[in-house]
Symmetry: C2
Subunit: 631 residues, 2 copies
């Protein structure tokens, strides 16, 4: 029986009678299962996209716990759904809520149609042996057979390959061998192998300011084989991009230090992916890289000073191909490092990656793409016109600058519901005593407090509500999400009035950016909102609408694009058309600098209200609040 | 007053009243002048090509010494011809006979029409300064101005240039500068300079088995500024190519050793040319390289084993562009090393260089191009069809394997006349006591001995001649060119029967090769013969016809192409059309392997006669002999 897991893209075979949980385990996908697969904890909820008929019927626990709508949409307990003997392939998607911690930044995404059409390709050839009558030289002999069998003009050969070529084509006795595999990067031969070798690999990198994510791709199929991530090693030099950029030009050997840090990180991830998947590093022929303009320039070693100084121009806008030797990246010696294009000094290759995934430039509906990270990048438009801006949202939405803020790691409160009695219900990563709150938890908390009237629309606490959980603290007031006594933990976890202020500033910046762009484009409402970024994937849509993180649209028009930047890097890796599309994107986007925009300051002030000072912009706010209660 | 010297291509200015000898001295051209410019030694003969009217009239010594024809053709004593006040530019060519030793391998050549159209070019630009309103990135800003001002699409930038670009465009205060010079290699930016910098240089290399010659070219004009040469440093590993090729694959690190030797030599020449002409090495942006296939592969570091083993195929036929880093050649870090194409394992880039110069592929008359070196390469044909072969002529014609053979260096007999009394008249390089005979002297000696009947047509000595100079020696007989008593030298210099045998084998191989190709092409006689190679330039045409070094043609149809291989390297350096033409040439030439050709053995035997066993092939032999006596 075959079962495919989404969004991982992994397909495995499993015997009849095994559960989806067993299959996920075999596929290396970690699903929460606190009860050990007994059907009692209700954590292993997955969604069957296709092949429900090939599964055992619902058990009583599922019927009880899942609501009718959920059952209709195909939700099941992974541990309860046993696979029957069938020819239908089962397709299951695993919501981020049901995944264990390590998957926390590698989550669901859009399904993107992409053709497997990589820049680097392999060709099997059987050239004629040279003889006195047919004494064509070695390179030209290969050129001829590639032209004859594949109708491809080969014009170049890498010097490393050329130097070894005559030896490589012959055995120890000097006899010409019969079968070869030739690897081409466009019209250049970069590798010759004996016999027929088909497999090769690529890695797509998303170099975030905080996290570096690597996707190992099977270049024969385009599938993701594995993913790995680590903290950006530059973080020890400073949390934000500008601190790091400043080091590159202010400190002696600053650029070298900063570049080596990221290259080391990239190499560690490559090494781990190779080791875990039993692949040799020389089998990796290409990597693609996205990242904001600062990360991009430092990765490529391009003098970055003037990104940080007015008028903030980058050294290079276009994509650039580098060699392993030029970068220090440990892949095949003649492999390619494709660094994706940037839009401006403040809108980088990560945004290009997002747009490759969400493709507003190819559609009629007007899309508002928001990539929420330490900075928020916003692109608005459709195939007619695209405009963009970046907002200094600050790190609050990622859990930083929040009293009990933390990254999405074990002990972080990630989802919160507050009932009518103003009592919270928490979902904690790793099911441990709560240590703090991560980004999605913060938005949930504020939204629930707004929704239940604990917080006023201007962000102040409503002192008249009837709960002990609202209490004064050293700098004002705070709401207690978790008493240490409740969980036997080290400390209480609270949301303070200062935290709410931080959220107001962050959401105000994004909200204002979106509204400024909407005014520029002359629209009242986008047709859809695409939320990109790891964080974007975790936030609760209703909570986000409740606080007014972005303009109001129908809840079904809010889509989670997953790690769209990383997906974009993968698309560019497996499809050269996408790579070309990426090169054209910077020309299509008119970039607005919000800091100097005439309307921004006012919009920023108005946007700090929950959801907005001007309620006419949120006409369906009440209706959305009703959705909260039915959850 | 301006005077231009050919074939050096040097133009200088000189005051009225000075002589051509003074001018040559100022231009750094060494003309023989044993009498110190008194008009008595008759060694400084030059030919005035243009501007005879701008010179003082002939002095009595000239009238006496020069024959009427010579005077009509414009021959003068350089020391006697004084320059008058005139606006006409004087053009003088300096025959190799009138040059001093050091010029011995850098001599006359064809004048080739060539456009100055190099691959690497410089452009002066004044881009707009970036501003908040015009925040285009640095690379794209340059791209835009180059497109606007020169209508050139720039698609790439070297990583070294890119990394420094933002800094390079701005002053220490971070202000964008105003004027730049951009250097492009095709569509790639390889250098940015402040202000307007026009000058740059290239070097054309002819890597011979014995000698490496380097031509320093001013890329603004295409002119040769200077030349330098040295012995091929690989010579310590073996005199011939195959010995060296064998070392590359038979000895541990053999390739590295052999490659380093030649690269060191190339770097020494670059360094000398730079020093002598006050040029920085980073101002040299490109070099072109010709050489036989062995030298070519070793220079580029391509595994060379199978050039030396049947079916003798080379690794690469096409030209290849390498970087300074890939080769170790010390020029500008992003400069280009253009290695010219080869025809086969035994016909290399040197032959391609010759053909670029002598251009049989562009003309109707059928040309027989002979590049005489350690191996002789022959190409026959015209624009309809070209066929070629290489002959193992051996080193005899270069003075090696001859008892008193030596290179063209001081003490070498270079020209010989033998009068009716069978007494020789010698022209010795450097006017020193004779130490030996160089290539041109050997051919002269054999020709004169044949012409005077001292040697029979089958190469044996005629014992019946009446001269004491013919005497027995340990292995047969010899003719004494110089008694040590005549010159107060260390030893007699003689031509032995063994020497004559060596000449027979060498000239037999070339003669046979030419005849085999003529039969293949179905012609009785080529329309012209082009003699290439340093040696080709020095031999006396009548002597060459007398011994039958090549097929008989009218004496005016024998042309000296000079160091045509080196000229070809220069043409490819200054004109990208020529470079493209060179890439097409290997496809145009059908290469014949003489060793296995059915007719070669017989032709080789017949060709060892003076001039040939079949005298019907030399119908004008008697008439040519008459020309000898009138010299």
């Amino acid at each position: 029986m075959k079962i495919k897991f989404e969004p991982d893209g992994k397909t495995i075979k499993i015997e009849e009678g095994k559960t989806i949980l067993d299959a996920a385990d075999k596929a290396g996908i970690d699903i929460k299962s606190d009860c050990g697969g007994k059907g009692t904890c209700g954590k292993c909820i997955i969604k069957i996209e296709e092949g429900m008929d090939s599964l055992s019927p619902l058990i009583s626990e599922e019927k009880e716990d899942l609501c009718t709508e959920e059952i209709e949409e195909g939700y099941r307990y992974a541990c309860a759904a046993k696979i029957k003997n069938t020819k239908t392939e089962i397709k299951a998607s695993i919501p981020s809520k049901s995944r264990r911690d390590k998957q926390v930044i590698l989550e669901e995404g859009l399904e993107v149609d992409v053709e497997l059409n990589p820049t680097i390709t392999k060709y099997q050839v059987k050239p004629d042996k040279p003889s006195l009558e047919d004494d064509l030289s070695d390179f030209e002999r290969l050129k001829k057979i590639i032209k004859k069998e594949y109708n491809i003009e080969t014009n170049h050969i890498s010097i490393n390959t050329l130097r070894k070529l005559p030896k490589k084509l012959r055995n120890d006795l000097g006899r010409f061998k019969t079968k070869f595999t030739i690897t081409l990067n466009k019209d250049k031969i970069i590798k010759i192998e004996d016999g027929h070798q088909e497999e090769y690999y690529g890695v797509a990198f998303d170099i975030g300011t905080t996290t570096v994510v690597a996707y190992l791709i099977d270049m024969m199929t385009g599938d993701i084989i594995d993913t790995a991530s680590e903290m950006n090693p530059q973080i020890k030099y400073g949390e934000d991009v500008m601190t790091r950029v400043t080091i590159t030009f202010n400190e002696k050997n600053g650029m070298q230090k900063m570049q080596e840090a990221i290259i080391d990180g990239v190499n560690r991830l490559i090494s781990k992916l190779c080791k875990d998947n039993n692949i040799k590093q020389e089998e990796i022929l290409e990597i693609t890289v996205v990242g904001n303009t600062g990360m991009h320039h430092i990765f490529a070693g391009i003098h970055s000073e003037f990104i940080s100084k007015s008028p903030y121009v980058q050294g290079l806008r276009d994509s650039v191909n580098l060699t392993p030797n030029e970068t220090g990246v440990n892949i095949y010696e003649d492999g390619n490092i494709h660094v994706m294009p940037t839009v401006s000094g403040w809108m980088g290759a990560d945004t290009i990656g997002c747009l490759l995934t969400t493709t507003p430039h190819k559609q009629d509906p007007i899309q508002l793409m928001i990539d929420v990270g330490t900075n928020g990048e916003i692109v608005l438009g459709n195939k007619e016109r695209l405009i963009g801006a970046s907002c200094a949202a600050g790190p609050a939405l990622e859990g930083a600058s929040i009293k009990y803020g933390m990254r999405a790691a074990p002990g972080a409160i990630q989802y919160i519901e507050i009932n009518k009695e103003l009592e919270p219900k928490l979902d904690i990563i790793g099911n441990k005593p709560p240590k703090g709150i991560c980004g999605s938890g913060i938005i949930d908390a504020v939204a629930e407090l707004v929704s239940t009237g604990v917080i006023n629309r201007d962000g102040t606490f409503n002192k008249n509500v009837d709960t002990d959980r609202l209490r004064p603290n050293e700098s004002g007031m705070e709401y207690v999400l978790a008493y240490k006594s409740e969980y036997n933990s080290d400390h209480d976890v609270t949301i303070t009035n200062q935290d709410i202020r931080e959220v107001q500033l962050a959401k105000g910046a994004i909200c204002a950016g979106a509204h400024v762009l909407m005014d520029e484009l002359g629209i009242k409402k986008p047709d859809e909102i695409m939320l990109a970024g790891a964080f974007g994937n975790y936030i609760d849509k209703i909570s986000a609408l409740t606080i007014g993180l972005f303009p109001e649209v129908d809840i079904d028009d809010i889509k989670m694009a997953g790690n769209a930047a990383g997906v974009g890097a993968r698309l560019a890796l497996i499809d050269q058309e996408k790579r070309q599309e990426a090169r054209e994107l910077p020309n299509l986007i008119k970039y607005y600098r919000l800091a100097t925009h005439k309307d921004f300051e006012m919009e920023f002030a108005r946007g700090q209200y929950f959801p907005h000072m001007d309620m006419t912009k949120y006409p369906n706010y009440e209706k959305i609040q009703e959705l909260r209660t039915c959850r």
